[in-house]
């Protein structure tokens, strides 16, 4: 039963070796493979080839496209350096002003020197999210490995920065001096736990949101194969897609503003 369904999924699995099985299972009814879109595949060679750390994969392709898109949005549009901006240049300036103001508002004036790093994070996440919305695209930010790296980078950078700037006074972040003395050790335990949970929630929030939306679209897409409910299915895909457009931006925004908040803790650890 499961094997039959899996054979049918070869149409989405892009595995030419199983083409015969796919033809055999084409009339097999509903086929659900919502997670196949998250598979990592080598760009060249056969689908079953092993993936080494240096192998160019679909991850590489879509990360490369994200780099090109960022280059187009931020560099090509501003090449005229017009005082009165074109539409493209307005977008670049808007992105710049949006993140610059966020960094300045959340972390204060002394956080502005970390603006390029935060801008890198934001541009990468927002562009990768939106590219992932293209049909048949691969979404790097739906992978926990990707978001965990981002979140751990933020966590380690912020923690090291806090100790470098403030030494052991950085631990004052966990010692709530505003609370009554007997409560402080308990609060310190809670604060420390919440501090170390940060990278976990930071990364799973982004990957989970991206994965869930894409998987739901795929589930609705499978229902479109049944004629009776196809219109509802397609309407639902359109609706979820609209929601995903919103989520793509909001998750990038949330990730970036949380990074700013963590950075603020490193710069000003006092409660």
């Amino acid at each position: 039963m499961a094997d039959e369904a899996h054979s049918a999924a070869a149409t989405t699995g892009a595995d030419m070796a199983h083409g015969a099985d796919a033809a055999h299972g084409a009339d097999g009814g509903l086929v659900f493979h919502p997670m196949d879109q998250f598979l990592v595949k080598p760009l060249f060679g056969h689908a079953g080839d092993p993936v080494f750390w240096y192998t160019p994969t679909n991850v590489t392709l879509w990360l490369g496209l994200a780099v090109l898109a960022i280059f187009a949005i931020m560099v090509l549009t501003t090449s005229r350096r017009a005082v009165i901006p074109s539409r493209g240049q307005s977008v670049a300036e808007l992105a710049y002003g949006f993140i610059y103001k966020m960094v300045e508002d959340v972390t204060g004036k002394d956080g502005v020197k970390y603006f390029p790093y935060i801008m890198t994070l934001f541009m990468f996440i927002v562009v990768a999210n939106f590219l992932g919305l293209l049909p048949t695209a691969f979404t790097p930010t739906s992978h926990i490995a990707v978001t965990a790296l981002l979140a751990m980078a933020v966590f380690l950078a912020v923690t090291i920065l806090g100790f470098v700037l403030h030494g052991f006074k950085f631990l004052g972040l966990f010692w709530v001096s505003a609370a009554p003395l007997p409560l402080r050790p308990i609060l310190a335990v809670i604060e420390i736990i919440s501090y170390f949970v940060r990278p976990v929630s930071h990364s799973i929030r982004l990957a989970g949101n991206m994965m869930a939306g894409h998987a739901v679209i795929k589930v609705f897409a499978a229902f479109a194969a049944v004629t009776a409910i196809a219109p509802i299915s397609i309407a639902a895909i359109a609706a979820i897609y609209g929601l995903e457009v919103l989520v793509s931006f909001i998750q990038a925004y949330v990730f970036t503003i949380l990074t700013c908040v963590y950075l603020k803790d490193a710069l000003h650890p006092a409660h």
């Binding site: 039963m1 499961a2 094997d3 369904a5 899996h6 054979s7 999924a9 070869a10 699995g13 892009a14 595995d15 070796a17 199983h18 099985d21 009814g29 509903l30 659900f32 493979h33 997670m35 196949d36 998250f38 598979l39 990592v40 079953g48 993936v51 750390w53 240096y54 994969t57 991850v59 590489t60 990360l63 994200a66 780099v67 960022i70 280059f71 931020m74 560099v75 501003t78 350096r81 005082v83 240049q89 670049a92 300036e93 710049y96 002003g97 390029p116 790093y117 801008m119 890198t120 541009m123 990468f124 790097p140 739906s142 992978h143 926990i144 490995a145 990707v146 790296l149 990957a207 994965m211």
Partner: protein, 183 residues
């Protein structure tokens, strides 16, 4: 209906025989190295694109625009001040012109009045002279008339006396006439 076989033993290979995902591809640790490596490359490239090219350029554009706006506002303020100055100058000129006109009017009035006074004085003098002449003539005429009346009265009195048969004593008649004329 296919139910995903979540077999953790097989999940090590991440895909089944048909090339479909087993469980969540996100948890397939065989692919972590690949994703992390390419992500690091990507982030470094993006960082250099942004920090070396895009961000300084956009900052320069925004600064230039801010400068242009500031300059234009300053120029506008300047022009506004100039307009105020011009208006003040215009008002001043208007006030000066009004004062000048008033002065000219006063001067003309004074001149006209002086001319008029001279003419009036001259006319008054002429009138007085004429009046004096007239009065003199009237007095002469009246005197002449009195003398004539006296002569006529004397002659008439003499003739009457003669007609009545008396002798006309010239001295008496004259005395009588004079007495009558006085009365």
């Amino acid at each position: 209906m296919a139910t995903e076989p979540i077999d953790l033993e097989v999940a090590g290979t991440c895909t089944d025989a048909a090339g479909s995902a087993i469980g969540m591809p996100q948890l397939c640790d065989a692919w972590f190295g690949n994703q992390i490596f390419w992500l690091l490359v990507t982030l470094v490239v993006i960082y250099f694109i942004l920090s070396r090219i895009a961000l300084p350029r956009i900052a320069a554009i925004l600064a230039e625009r801010q400068g242009t706006i500031t300059n234009n506002i300053a120029a506008a303020e300047d022009l506004k001040a100039k307009a105020h100055e011009a208006e003040a100058a215009y008002d001043q000129a208007l006030a000066d012109a009004r004062a000048e006109a008033g002065r000219i009017i006063d001067a003309a009035k004074a001149e006209m009045k002086a001319d008029l006074d001279v003419a009036i004085k001259k006319a008054d003098a002429e009138i007085a002279e004429r009046t004096a002449e007239g009065e003199k003539a009237i007095a002469e005429i009246r005197e002449g008339a009195l003398a004539a009346v006296k002569d006529v009265a004397k002659d008439t009195a003499k003739e009457l006396i003669v007609a009545l048969g008396g002798t006309a004593d010239a001295r008496t008649v004259t005395a009588a006439v004079n007495a009558r004329m006085k009365g």
